[in-house]
């Protein structure tokens, strides 16, 4: 009888430790700060276009990460893409251009990928300067807060 009682107490103790452990684990998971992702995707088409454009997006002080990809494919003309942070500091650029004297259609492609932890808060700009450009440009950003 005494032996059974000892077994019972050990079982109860073991069971309660396991249960508390599981509760504790759940609590830790719940305390983890929530992370939000803000995705921005913008596609711009050009048809013998020469008008400069600017795409802006806001980085707020809570932003933890910024992942940005700008891709351009063009069959005609020239395009310069420049990325500026809110301090007007150039963070990257590329220019793609087709041959001016070429009669056959050709494709040129450029892309830039940038990842930053705690990017400078404020308005970031993507400046796009096309010259008689025909093609597509896409801007894809993932802002983690």
């Amino acid at each position: 009888m005494k032996k059974r009682l000892v077994y019972f107490i050990i079982c109860v103790l073991f069971s309660s430790v396991t249960t508390f452990g599981q509760i504790g684990g759940n609590t830790i998971i719940n305390e983890k700060p929530s992370v939000t992702h803000a995705f921005l995707y913008r596609a711009i088409s050009f048809e013998k276009d020469s008008k400069a454009d600017e795409v802006t997006f806001e980085i707020n002080p809570k932003t933890q990460e910024l992942h940005l990809t700008i891709k351009g494919s063009f069959t005609n003309g020239m395009v310069t893409v420049e990325l500026y942070d809110s301090n007007e500091t150039k963070q990257g650029n590329f220019t793609v251009g087709t041959q001016t004297n070429s009669e056959k259609e050709e494709m040129v492609t450029g892309s830039i990928t940038k990842s930053l932890f705690e990017p400078v808060p404020g308005i970031w700009k993507v400046k796009i300067v096309p010259t008689n450009a025909t093609g597509q440009l896409s801007i894809e950003s993932n802002i983690v807060e």
């Binding site: 990809t69 020239m78 500091t89 150039k90 990257g92 650029n93 590329f94 220019t95 793609v96 251009g97 087709t98 041959q99 070429s102 050709e106 494709m107 040129v108 492609t109 450029g110 892309s111 830039i112 990928t113 940038k114 990842s115 930053l116 932890f117 705690e118 400078v120």
Partner: protein, 340 residues
């Protein structure tokens, strides 16, 4: 006997052929860029060489810039013969493309960054090894080219600083960037190769910190003033306070202003002379006396004419010269030659 001679002759003949081919082989230029890449299946088996005419064109891509292409074999080896390149050192870009992509494809940043830069001239024999799969040109080791090792060192320095900065807080990032600026300026200051030195300058983002390091940049331009190429020309044009860039504009404006001033002076003088020429001979003589400050009575005595006649002449002079008093006459000045 004949067979024996024939053997000797053929041996000599073979020796001569072998010797001449070795000599020719030695004379032939061994200028080349060769290397080994570690690529996965997603990459195409061709590699392209582009000429980069200025540092502003490092991230410019067009088919026109591609000057050569060659195959990458199954083991990742490739070789360019570059004896067609100019004798002077220039900046070039090697790039590869993903399968299905157009040759004029430039990928900047990320795991698929597809290019690297190198300094090459007509006689260069450069070997590079890239032993990283992703991105393929991240770790480039140059053999027998100290300048390219230094050049790659700058790229690595910037990459490491950027990588650390990208995962750092804003305040820490500022410290890292300041340290990077200092390191780059030191490389620019101490490097003996102009293209290496200028590459370090471009990586400092000199457009924004030129004002705070004015002395450095001025002495830098003085140091390389004997360089006569596109790279230094493009750089000096970009300097915010370029010593030469505004000179043509300023000189044009000054010339224009000078022409206008000379024209106005000439016109004013012509108008004065034209008025003076309206005076009669007698009036001119009286005018000269008036300029000396003599009175009507003295003029009358000098020319032996009546005082009323003098007054009439003086009044006429006033009318023709469009003046109102003797004081105005004293302020007018004509050359002796104008009186003729």
């Amino acid at each position: 006997m004949a067979v024996r001679y024939l053997k000797h002759i053929s041996a000599i003949f073979i020796f001569l052929i072998t010797n001449s081919s070795i000599t020719l082989g030695q004379n032939k230029s061994n200028a080349q860029i060769s290397g080994k890449l570690s690529l996965d299946d997603s990459w195409d088996s061709e590699i392209y060489l582009s000429h980069i005419p200025t540092y502003d064109d490092m991230y410019v891509m067009s088919n026109e810039m591609i000057i050569a292409k060659t195959k990458i074999d199954n083991l990742g080896y490739f070789k360019f013969n570059i004896d067609f390149l100019p004798y002077g050192e220039n900046l070039y870009r090697l790039h590869i493309i993903k399968k299905g992509d157009t040759p004029a494809t430039l990928i900047i940043g990320g795991k698929d960054e597809n290019h690297c830069f190198l300094i090459v001239n007509h006689n260069s024999n450069i070997q590079l090894i890239c032993n990283l799969y992703s991105p393929p040109f991240r770790n480039v080791f140059f053999e027998n080219s100290a300048d390219n090792v230094a050049f790659q060192g700058i790229s690595n320095l910037v990459y490491i600083a950027d990588s650390i900065a990208a995962e750092s807080t804003a305040s820490k990032r500022m410290l890292i960037e300041n340290q990077l600026q200092e390191d780059l300026l030191q490389i620019a200051d101490t490097s003996n190769n102009f293209l290496v030195s200028l590459y370090a300058i471009y990586k400092t983002k000199f457009e924004s910190n030129y004002a705070s390091n004015l002395d450095f940049y001025e002495s830098y331009v003085d140091r390389w003033e004997n360089q006569d190429n596109n790279y230094i020309e493009a750089f000096t044009k970009e300097l915010p306070i370029s010593s030469n860039s505004n000179l043509p504009v300023i000189s044009t404006i000054l010339t224009f202003i000078s022409v206008i001033v000379v024209f106005l002076l000439w016109k004013f003088r012509y108008k004065k002379n034209r008025n003076y020429k309206k005076l009669s001979i007698q009036e001119r003589k009286i005018y000269e006396l008036l300029q000396q400050g003599v009175t009507n009575q003295e003029i009358s005595n000098h020319f032996n004419i009546g005082l009323s006649t003098v007054k009439s002449h003086v009044s006429s002079i006033y009318g023709k010269l469009n003046i109102k008093s003797r004081k105005d006459i004293l302020n007018l000045k004509y050359n002796k030659g104008d009186t003729a």
